[in-house]
């Protein structure tokens, strides 16, 4: 794990089009039962254009930013040694089916502690108009040699 990547930003990801069936599939997978996640009628009745993604859905969108980090040879992150330390989602508005989302990741912190490294990154997710939707912040713990 290379501490010099602290502060590094990566190019915006290719647009991710949020599909209605993907939202429903993800909602069922996280055992969500609220009708706004599953039924377009219920979502519209609540004032949304289509089904609303569950709060942790941005993790699907950040698969692409995680891949950028893993593909960065200078970062030197060995995925087989990675453990998820913490995760946060800070919303400006909920994600709704039909949104086209782009994520831009910055590595905000790299720390080494007792042979382990902790890398914290922020992925700012914006819609097609460029407006902020949600920021996903995650810390990965990369275990050192034992």
């Amino acid at each position: 794990m290379n501490p010099a990547i602290e502060g590094r930003s990566y190019p915006p990801t290719a647009p991710y089009l949020v599909g209605r069936e993907k939202v429903r599939e993800f909602a069922k997978a996280v055992l969500a039962t609220h009708p706004t996640h599953l039924e377009p009628e219920a979502a519209r009745a609540a004032g949304y254009a289509d089904v609303v993604a569950p709060p942790t859905f941005p993790i699907v969108v950040t698969a692409a930013t995680l891949q950028q980090l893993l593909d960065d040879e200078e970062a030197g992150v060995d995925f087989t040694r990675v453990v998820h330390g913490d995760q946060r989602f800070s919303y400006s508005r909920p994600i709704v089916a039909g949104d086209e989302l782009v994520a831009t990741m910055t590595v905000t912190s790299v720390k080494t502690l007792g042979g382990h490294s902790m890398v914290t990154s922020e992925s700012a997710i914006a819609d097609a108009t460029g407006a902020h939707v949600v920021t996903a912040t995650s810390t990965l713990v990369v275990r050192g040699d034992e």
Partner: protein
């Protein structure tokens, strides 16, 4: 929202997980790390068994709050630390319990604190949901 009192339980739920739950989450999320469905791989890397994805636990732990609010758009911030694994037995599965309590109330809404347990132990730390008024 101003009627809420700190310490008040606003929602609770119990989630039985099976290996099927993990496979479904793997497919929906795209996280195909085999420690979440293969006993041999989990054992080879020194784990006590196949583990639930941390993001699966984070994903369902907020659902009682969404149901209580009646509008997922009122969740404006959600964070957790992954502190202990949830081992999912191939035959008996695992049961994870969630209790959501009011942690703080202010002008911008409330902070709901989640206690998420598997067996006798908590599996998430600092699991906090910021919710805005309707």
């Amino acid at each position: 929202m101003s009627a809420l009192e700190v310490g008040q339980v606003v929602a609770e739920a119990s989630y039985p997980l099976t290996r099927d739950t993990l496979v479904r989450y793997a497919g929906a999320s795209g996280d195909f790390n085999p420690i979440h469905y293969r006993d041999d791989v989990a054992a080879a890397v020194g784990l006590p068994g196949v583990l639930a994805h941390g993001m699966l636990t984070m994903g369902f732990a907020v659902q009682p709050v969404v149901d209580w609010l009646g509008d997922p758009g009122r969740v404006v911030d959600y964070q957790v630390k992954f502190t202990r694994p949830v081992v999912v037995d191939p035959e008996t599965g695992a049961v994870v319990n969630v209790v959501a309590k009011v942690g703080a109330v202010d002008d911008e809404g409330a902070r709901i604190d989640l206690t998420v347990t598997f067996g006798e132990q908590t599996v998430l730390g600092k699991a906090q949901v910021r919710v805005r008024p309707a």
